[in-house]
């Protein structure tokens, strides 16, 4: 029982906004057992470490003798003592192993009826599949409902890590890895004024949404960080997204609905811009001309581009479509063939919308071509 109370004793240290915090906020069913195990191991370590260090420094001072003085004792061994200090720590180790393994098995054992969500990791972003054609980089889930993530990678090894849930699993290309967790704390929604101010500020600056600065999503939810924890190349440190925990199913469904297929009333270019932000394009392709992993979309449409094969190809509708579906077929000179294929992930209308959006970024709106 005392064990369970320990985290509370440290609760002052547990505040996320405080620079001295020991843990991120605790927001899943794994957090409590994980943190108590952590504290228990740490305290056990202290029980050994503190006497060792006291003895170390005390002896160093107490038995500090002038040169040439003989040692007071020359006992070479003491079997009872030596056997004792070999065996006693073993009991603690067995304890750590058993409790650790038990909690681990729980983390691997998916409860019946867990909601299944497909996750795709790629260099350097995330696509969460909400079914019926809704994809989004943010992970939105429901409070107190176990979630199973089925994860795959299109290129190298990634690792999905949510510190607030104390959960992590590598995503190895060529196989499906899974993980599950049960979020216990719902994300708050910020006030409409605050959200409006942040949206306005972002628009005025002409930048993409700054999660670090606002600490809420463009939809106005507070969030938990989701990191890629396995080194995956150039923009590994930017392969982050957010987790939002919804209080009710209605709220979650309402959020998903916003990102469902394009409504006939929404112009394709506007929807294309949304896709550009949500489907990971923004990670590699800028819209202001700066060179990132892939060519910038600014003034790209209709421009003749030199390929690594030496051919010159106009970046027209057909070329862009081909690049989305078969990105390795014709690569622009100066870039690596690293883009994952979006075949089967973007509908014809999605691709059309993206191309329409790219036309708006061309100098003359793409009208001349």
């Amino acid at each position: 029982m005392m064990l369970m109370n320990l985290p509370k004793a440290f609760s002052l240290l547990g505040d996320y906004s405080e620079p001295y915090a020991w843990f991120p906020e605790s927001a899943s069913s794994f957090s409590e057992i994980n943190d108590s195990l952590y504290y228990w191991i740490t305290i056990t370590c202290m029980v050994f470490f503190v006497p060792i260090v006291i003895a170390l420094f005390y002896f160093a001072v107490k038995y500090n003798k002038p040169k040439g003085t003989k040692a007071e004792s020359n006992v070479a061994h003491n079997t009872v003592l030596e056997v004792t200090w070999s065996i006693v720590p073993s009991f603690f180790l067995v304890g750590m192993f058993i409790f650790g393994a038990k909690a681990f098995l729980e983390m691997r054992d998916v409860p019946d009826g867990a909601n299944e969500i497909n996750v795709q990791a790629f260099k350097w972003g995330w696509t969460i599949d909400y079914g019926s054609g809704v994809f989004h980089p943010e992970l939105h889930i429901l409070k107190d409902e176990p979630v199973k993530l089925s994860m795959r990678s299109t290129d190298v090894i990634h690792s999905l890590y949510i510190p607030a849930f104390r959960a992590k699993k590598d995503i190895v290309p060529g196989r499906y890895n899974y993980m599950w967790f049960k979020p216990t704390v719902a994300s708050e929604k910020v006030s409409d004024e605050e959200l409006a101010a942040a949206i306005k500020q972002t628009k005025d600056l002409g930048e993409s949404w700054n999660f670090d600065e606002h600490q809420f999503t463009p939809d106005g939810y507070r969030f938990y960080d989701l990191y890629c924890a396995e080194y995956c190349g150039t923009n590994h440190s930017e392969m982050q997204t957010v987790v939002v925990v919804h209080e009710t199913l209605e709220d979650l469904n309402a959020w998903i609905k916003q990102y469902s297929k394009r409504d006939a009333s929404v112009p394709p270019a506007e929807y294309g811009e949304k896709l550009y932000k949500n489907r990971g394009c923004a990670g590699c392709h800028s819209i202001d001309g700066t060179k990132r992993v892939g060519p910038s979309f600014a003034e790209l449409y209709g421009r003749p581009e030199e390929m690594i094969t030496g051919d010159k190809i106009n970046a027209d509708e057909n070329y862009i479509r081909e690049s989305i579906l078969y990105p390795k077929a014709q690569v622009v000179a100066g870039y690596q063939p690293v883009m994952p294929s979006y075949k089967g992930q973007l509908s014809d209308d999605d691709i059309y919308s993206l191309i329409e959006y790219m036309k708006t970024l061309a100098k003359d709106g793409g009208a001349a071509k």
Binding site: L56, G68, F97, G100, L105, Y161, S237
Partner: protein, 582 residues
């Protein structure tokens, strides 16, 4: 003598100072006499220079990393290629530190110099193989530098597939470098095993060997058994990259986790290649500077062998989050805990050795104390990572970074420094400034803790490793860490200056400045070309009862009972048996 306490009826045994022709440093001159030398001591010195240069280089890269991370958005590398630069710098830092410094530092540099001398042998068993291994090390180093100056390397020192089979950086040059360094390591290990097995002089039984030799022996076993696996793995990696044979790359039906199994089957035992020799150094340092018999000699010796063997069974703990089957994961967790017992035994033994000793707080002793403090933290935090549930949270975060730096830097580097200061008078025949050495030890200790303690907190709070930029809430701890790294850097520079200054203005070192009882203190400082003028008398390496302080000459001397020679009578003119006595 101190207070004229020479026991009655005993004589002083002291080899005095070597003449220029005896001294291994001066007995032959010119660059060629070094380039083609077969003397294990000169090869050891060349290694020492090599690993120090590598360490300085990799240390500067570490400072670049820390300075870059001073600000969340990155301070040093800017622009479109910033992340690429950062990735290459941390990769090169890791690869150079591990392959060119930590693995060869104690076994190849100190080991080459000390193993034959401590054993009482003239040289290692295969002197030419020894020189070959040094030049292989140089060639391996050249491959690493070549990788740097061509297209860089951005895979991390672990070369994980499929990233390493698809990135366009110089993976092949770097893996070839590591492959060649592997041979260097195997040759050194082989040489030590044969030397220790066959070249012990009369009287040098296994249990009269100093613990440094036990540690070197267990290390050599790992080097010989594990390194070939790395060699094969790296060749397979190169084959995968060039010919797409489909072992590691899922695009050709390979499995990336297979690579991790292969890689860690070498690289986890390699962690013990890094730390076991350090245990050996510390065992000797603690005993000599406490002037007390090492406590539990046999337990320490056996625990070295136990660690070497158990070290082969625990590689899977690097893959607790890779998605192995739960049963495999649990077995690896259980095995992992077994390694901590022999490590704990050593710490208890060292403390017990200090108890009721006669401790001199010399520079090597300061490093030894720092080692016990830091290694204990490094070892204990391994428990958080060996425990399956907590590892799920801590894996691949800064907690791991802090843990292995406490073991490798706080352990191996500190032991290496302690060893260098301890044997420096023997290596070069010069005494360094004690004051300067202790100052360096204290600054290194403080700087080290300031660098890596905050990283435990960073990791617990969820900061992933290998990030070029990070979320602003982590900035405070990163900045502490950067200040620590600068302090650590200053401490290391002081240590270097103290040692180099001693070569110019240091006092001449006596044969036995610390009062050690192992054989290397029985020859002159620096040792003669063949180490000993005549076969040394082998005794208990930790028996300090005959070691006395000579105040007048500021040195320790060994006393031994005066042996009565047979009376010098001229024999009877005719031997008794010559004519039957009549």
């Amino acid at each position: 003598m101190s207070s004229g306490s020479l026991p009655k009826g005993s004589v002083i045994r002291d080899p005095g100072y070597p003449t220029a022709s005896e001294n291994y440093l001066t007995n032959s001159k010119g660059a060629l006499s070094w380039i083609f030398t077969l003397d294990h001591k000169r090869i050891g010195v060349m290694y020492l220079i090599g690993v120090t240069v590598s360490f300085a280089f990799a240390g500067l890269l570490a400072l670049l990393i820390r300075l870059h991370l001073f600000l969340p958005e990155g301070m040093i590398f800017k622009g479109a290629e910033a992340n690429n630069y950062y990735n290459q710098v941390f990769t090169l830092h890791g690869a150079v530190m591990v392959f060119l410094f930590i693995i060869p530092s104690i076994p190849a540099a100190l080991g080459n110099f000390l193993v034959p001398v401590m054993l009482g042998a003239k040289d290692v068993a295969f002197p030419r193989l020894n020189l070959t291994s040094f030049y292989l090390w140089c060639i391996g180093a050249i491959f690493f530098i070549a990788a740097l100056f061509s297209t860089g390397l951005d895979t991390g020192w672990t070369f994980y597939t499929p990233y390493s089979t698809t990135t366009d950086t110089s993976v092949i040059a770097a893996t070839m470098g590591a492959f060649i360094l592997g041979f260097s390591s195997i040759f050194t290990g082989l040489n030590f095993i044969v030397t220790i097995n066959t070249m012990r002089p009369p009287g040098m039984t296994w249990f009269r060997m100093p613990l440094f030799l036990w540690a070197t022996y267990s290390t050599s076993i790992i080097q010989v058994l594990a390194t070939p696996v790395l060699g094969i793995t790296l060749l397979l990696l190169i084959a995968e990259r060039t010919m797409h044979i489909g072992i590691f790359d899922p695009e050709f039906n390979g499995d990336p986790v297979t690579y991790q199994h292969f890689f860690w089957f070498y690289s986890h035992p390699a962690v013990y290649i890094m730390i076991l020799p350090a245990f050996g150094v510390i065992s000797d340092l603690i005993s000599v500077h406490s002037h007390k018999r090492i406590f539990g000699y046999r337990f320490i010796a056996y625990s070295s062998i136990a660690i070497a063997l158990l070290g082969f069974l625990v590689w899977g703990h690097h893959m607790f989050t890779a998605g192995m089957s739960p049963l495999t994961t649990i077995i690896f967790s259980a095995l992992t805990f077994t390694v901590s017992v022999p490590s704990a035994i050593k710490v208890f033994n060292w403390i017990a050795t200090m108890y009721k000793g006669s401790i001199s707080l010399t520079t090597p002793m300061c490093f030894a104390i720092a080692f016990i403090f830091l290694f204990t933290i490094g070892g204990l935090t391994g428990l958080h990572l060996g425990t399956l549930a907590t590892d799920q949270h801590l894996h691949d975060t800064y907690f791991v970074v802090a843990h292995f730096h406490y073991v490798m830097v706080g352990g191996t580097l500190i032991a290496f420094l302690g060893g260098v200061f301890h044997w420096w008078p023997k290596l070069f025949g010069k005494m360094y400034s004690e004051w300067g050495g202790r100052l360096a030890a204290v600054i290194i200790f403080i700087g080290f803790n300031l660098t890596f303690l905050p990283q435990f907190v960073l990791g617990s709070r969820g900061m992933p490793r290998r990030y070029a930029t990070y979320d602003p809430e982590f900035a405070f701890l990163h900045q502490m860490s950067t200040y620590g790294a600068l302090t650590l850097g200053i401490g290391l520079v002081i240590a270097l200056v103290v040692l180099l200054a001693s070569l110019v203005r240091g006092k001449r070192a006596p044969a036995n400045p610390w009062g050690g009882a192992t054989l290397e203190w029985h020859c002159t400082s620096p040792p003669p070309f063949y180490n000993f003028e005549r076969a040394p008398v082998v005794g208990d390496p930790y028996d300090f009862s005959n070691v006395e302080w000579d105040q007048e000459n500021e040195r320790y001397v060994s006393t031994e009972p005066e042996r009565k020679l047979a009376p010098e009578e001229s024999p009877k003119s005719v031997p008794a048996h010559a004519d039957g006595g009549h």
